[in-house]
Structures are given as C-alpha cells and as structure tokens.
C-alpha cells in the first residue's frame, strides 16, 4: 500500500451518488487533513451517511473521485481489501459478530487479514479493550453487553487493525441516552490521541467540543463548513440556522407547528450550556 503522508487523509472531488433515480450526493468537494477531526451534520436524507460510506467504498460512487491516504478508491483496479485495512468504520448498529466472543471479535480480522499469531492478536485486542474500558468483557458474547458496551467493543475492534483513519456513522444514534456519554468519551480520547476522524453525528455538543471542523450538509451538497464555533455558533446560511434551531430547540419548533415556513430572524439558539454528557 502506497501512502503519501503529505496528502490529506481523505480527498473527495466532485462526488456524485445516485440510488436509481434518486440523487443523494450532488457534487461534493471535501477534504480531511491528517490528524483532523471532522464532524458531518445535517438533516436525515441529506446524504451525510452516504458520503461517509462512499469513503470506505461501501457505496460505489456514481461519479467523482476519492483518495484515502493518497490511494485512489475510485480506481477500478484498487486493492480494496488492502486500503480498507487502513480505515476503521464504526456503524450505527454496532455490527459486532454475534457468534464470536468480544475477544474473538477483535482478533479475527487481525489473524485472517494481518496474519498475526494468536498471542499477538490477543495482546493487541486486550490493549484496545482496556482503551475503551471493557477489559472485563473479553469473554462475553455481544448479546450479553449493553448497547454502549457493544459500540465501544466495535470501536476497539476497528482500532485493533491499527487504522490511520476512523469513520463513524452516527455511532450513538441507536443508544439509550444514558449510554451515549461513554461512547463519546472514548471517541474524544481517540481524537486527543491524534486519530484522524470523520464523524457523522447528531451530537452537537460533541461536534462543538471535539471537532476541528464542522461540515453542514443538506440536499446532497455541503452547505457550509468551518470551525465549530462558526458553523454552530454563527451559521452563515439560512438552511444551517433552520437545522440547528430544529435540533437544539425541538419543542419550540413543534409548538409553532410550521418549522420550515417562518425562519426566525434571530441567530440560531445557542448550544445548551449544561453538558449532559460530561464531555
């Protein structure tokens, strides 16, 4: 695998993606720098998950080009399995392997893909379980874990492959509210350790505190992007403001009963000051 450290971790040029007649991505230009943490936000159906899945080629782009660590993913001859070794992916629904213990979830790809011996794979796995605070769950099966524990195990599974880039597809959306904090704490630690991360999320507090850059997507295009305090604190675009007011103050909008028609002239409501996730 050829890597050019000088190049961005992710480069996307004029990316289009359609599902049949439905155009989901309409020309995305986008970069993630080495060591950068980028949060992608936007309403459901805005194409943010599709964008993330295109980076790992779980979705085949209709047009446009994608490079990850300098390797062109959209090249038809790309050695996809080799490139994916350098990319970790965390799913909304965890996708742990239910027939394997947590430890074996973390070792199976190390052994089959990286050809590590059992002892080395288990050493790496246990180190990563410690990193996410699941040392005592090594021999449990996924079904015996809570959602938050499953997601942390899934993160540890990705980390065991020692990726250069981590992709998170709404990692906390399937969790009970009180379990969200543990997962976000793990992700925050990962960001502090210098991991390059692209995170599709609805957790605005996480985006505000952890992201280097926030990208707002709507209708298949990037509407605006920039440092979190700008995009979340003083959005330039009306669509961003409307989205943030719906997310941050949902009951107020619901009472109005006409969320899309009367754009509030005031700036978007400020983020909640009390931090419910102890970030």
């Amino acid at each position: 695998m050829t890597t050019a450290p000088s190049r961005p971790a992710v480069e996307i040029r004029d990316l289009h993606k359609s599902f049949g007649p439905l155009k989901v991505l309409k020309g995305i230009d986008f970069e993630v720098g080495q060591g950068e943490v980028v949060c992608v936000i936007g309403p459901s159906g805005s194409g943010k998950s599709t964008l993330l899945r295109c980076v790992d080629l779980l979705e085949e782009p209709t047009a446009g080009k994608i490079w990850v660590n300098g390797v062109e993913m959209t090249d038809p001859d790309v050695e996809i399995d080799a490139v994916r070794r350098g990319i970790g992916m965390v799913f909304q629904s965890f996708n742990l392997f239910p027939h394997l213990t947590v430890l074996n979830n973390l070792t199976i790809a190390q052994r089959r893909v990286l050809r590590r011996g059992r002892a080395e794979a288990e050493r790496v796995a246990r180190a990563n379980l410690e990193r996410v605070g699941l040392t005592d769950k090594a021999d449990a099966f996924p079904a015996q874990l809570s959602g938050g524990q499953q997601q942390r195990a899934a993160i540890a599974r990705s980390l065991s492959m020692e990726p250069k880039l981590m992709l998170f597809d709404e990692p906390t959306s399937a969790l009970d509210p009180e379990l969200v904090g543990d997962v976000l704490t793990v992700m925050r630690k990962l960001a502090e350790d210098g991991m390059t991360m692209m995170v599709v999320t609805h957790e605005m507090a996480f985006a505000r505190d952890v992201a280097d850059r926030v990208v707002f997507m709507d209708g298949g295009v990037v509407v605006e992007q920039g440092p979190p305090q700008e995009v979340l604190g003083a959005p330039k675009h009306e669509r961003t403001r409307a989205f943030l007011s719906r997310v941050l103050d949902p009951t107020h909008v619901a009472q109005l009963g006409q969320p899309d028609q009367s754009p509030s002239p005031s700036p978007a409501p400020s983020l909640p000051t009390d931090d419910r996730h102890n970030l």
């Binding site: 080799a82 970790g88 629904s93 199976i108 790809a109 899934a154 990705s158 492959m161």
Partner: protein, 264 residues
C-alpha cells in the same frame, strides 16, 4: 345456576379428558391383542433379528445417511453461494439444478446414479462402492433442498455483518466463510435437522442398487425377514430401529440450539 368462569373452564377441560380416555379405552378393549401379538410381536423372531439388525442394518443406515448428508451439505452450500453470486451464469446453473432435482423423486435419482454412471464411465468406479453411490445418489437430491435452506439462512444474516467484515479488510470469501456462513448455519439448524431425519428414512431406497448381506440397511433387512418368516414382527423392529436413530438426534440438536442461543 350460573357457573363462574374458572368453574366453567374446569368443567370443560374435565369433559375433554373424559372423551379422550373413552376413545383410547374403546380402542384398547376392542382390539384383538392375541392376533396382534402373533402378527407383530413374536419374541422368537425378534431374538433372531439380533444382533444383525444393529451391527449391520442400523450401522449401514447411519453410514448411508451421514454420507448423503455430508455430500448434500457441501454441495448444497456451494449451490446456495452460486444462487447468491453476482455472476449471472452461476445463478442460472444453480437455479436450474435446484428446480430439476427438487422435482425428481429421490428413487429415480438414485437409480440414475447407480446404473447411469457405470454405463457412462465404464472404466471408472464410484469411490466407496454402494456407499458412495448412495451418498451421491441421495446427496444430489438433498443438496437441492439444502441449498434453498442455506440460501435463506445466509440472507437472514444482517447485511451489516458482511459490511463490518469487509471494512476490517476481509475479502468477500473470507467474510463469507468466517462471519456470514457460521451465523447462517446456526439459523438453519432446525430445517437441516429435518433434512437429516428425512435422509435417514430415504436411505431405505438403497435397495434399488441391489444391496448384499454386508450392505443391507434397516428397511431391506426388515422386509427380507418378513418374507422369510411370513410374519410382520420384523417391520415393528425395523420401525423401532429408526426411532433409535431419530429420537436421540432431536435431543442432540435441541442441546446444540441451546448452546448457540447466547451467541446470537
């Protein structure tokens, strides 16, 4: 007088038991037990069937069944993967095979294998002799059924499993073999058990290949004894011999399912 709900339920249940017991009792009393025992339960004949029915007939039935099941499982898994393949000709071939062999009686397929292959390849022999012919002959039909079962099992494994495996850098083949298929088999244990029990009984078709005293299985053994002794007792013993196989099998599978229940 108006009965309360629980009283009504108790009364109704009591009546049902009464009718049930009356039917059983009538049948038991009306049957001619002496003649039945004479036709189906002659102790001297039962004794004469041992130990051959165990050491030869039961053993062969188990061997033929396991041979056909193993062949069908391997071939059926290949067919299932072909049916799910992105390569269209693979799908066509697998679909045609499954439709054809599900539609043919197992007896006919066994006959074609047993007599057709030696004619087609006069220089060669089917490995394993009668055992090989039965394993292949019954396995070809079983594979068609199992392929559909296994395909359903593979499709029942959530798509995210394959995606997670691929994002860890596994090839499609490795992901199938280590992640998807092991889960698919846990899902299809009950229908595959059904297939194994059906094969146990289908192994009685071995007679069309002309079995010898060494290769005889339970049903043929029972029928030969029936003709020999002009008495139906061997059929009863043969039936019990099949139950000796199938009843413990069900227990083993139930255990297996319980063991896998936590790993789902």
């Amino acid at each position: 007088m108006k009965l309360r709900r629980r009283q009504r339920e108790r009364l109704s249940l009591g009546l049902q038991y009464l009718v049930f017991i009356a039917i059983i009792a009538t049948v038991l009393v009306a049957a001619d037990w002496d003649r039945l025992a004479d036709a189906f339960f002659r102790v001297d004949i039962i004794k004469s069937m041992f130990p051959t029915i165990i050491t030869v007939a039961l053993r062969n039935t188990i061997l033929y069944t396991l041979g056909a099941f193993a062949f069908g499982l391997v071939f059926g898994t290949i067919l299932a993967l072909m049916r799910l393949s992105r390569v269209a000709p693979y799908r066509w071939v697998a679909t045609a095979y499954i439709e054809l062999f599900r539609g043919l009686p197992a007896l006919l397929v066994l006959f074609l294998v047993g007599y057709g292959i030696p004619i087609a390849f006069p220089e060669r022999e089917i490995p394993g002799g009668v055992f090989g012919s039965i394993a292949i002959g019954l396995g070809l039909t079983a594979a068609a059924y199992m392929a559909e079962t296994i395909r359903a099992g593979i499709q029942a494994v959530p798509k995210g499993q394959m995606e997670a495996a691929r994002t860890l850098g596994m090839s499609h083949f490795t992901a199938m073999r280590t992640i998807v298929i092991p889960q698919a088999f846990r899902i299809v244990i009950p229908p595959l058990t059904n297939e194994l029990i059906l094969l146990t009984k289908d192994s009685s078709l071995a007679y069309v290949l002309g079995v010898t005293a060494q290769t005889i299985e339970i049903t043929k053994f029972g029928r030969d004894m029936l003709n020999d002794r002009v008495n139906a007792t061997p059929l009863l013993v043969a039936g019990l011999a099949y139950l000796v196989i199938t009843l413990p099998l069900s227990q083993v599978v139930r255990r297996l399912e319980l063991r896998y229940a936590k790993a789902r």
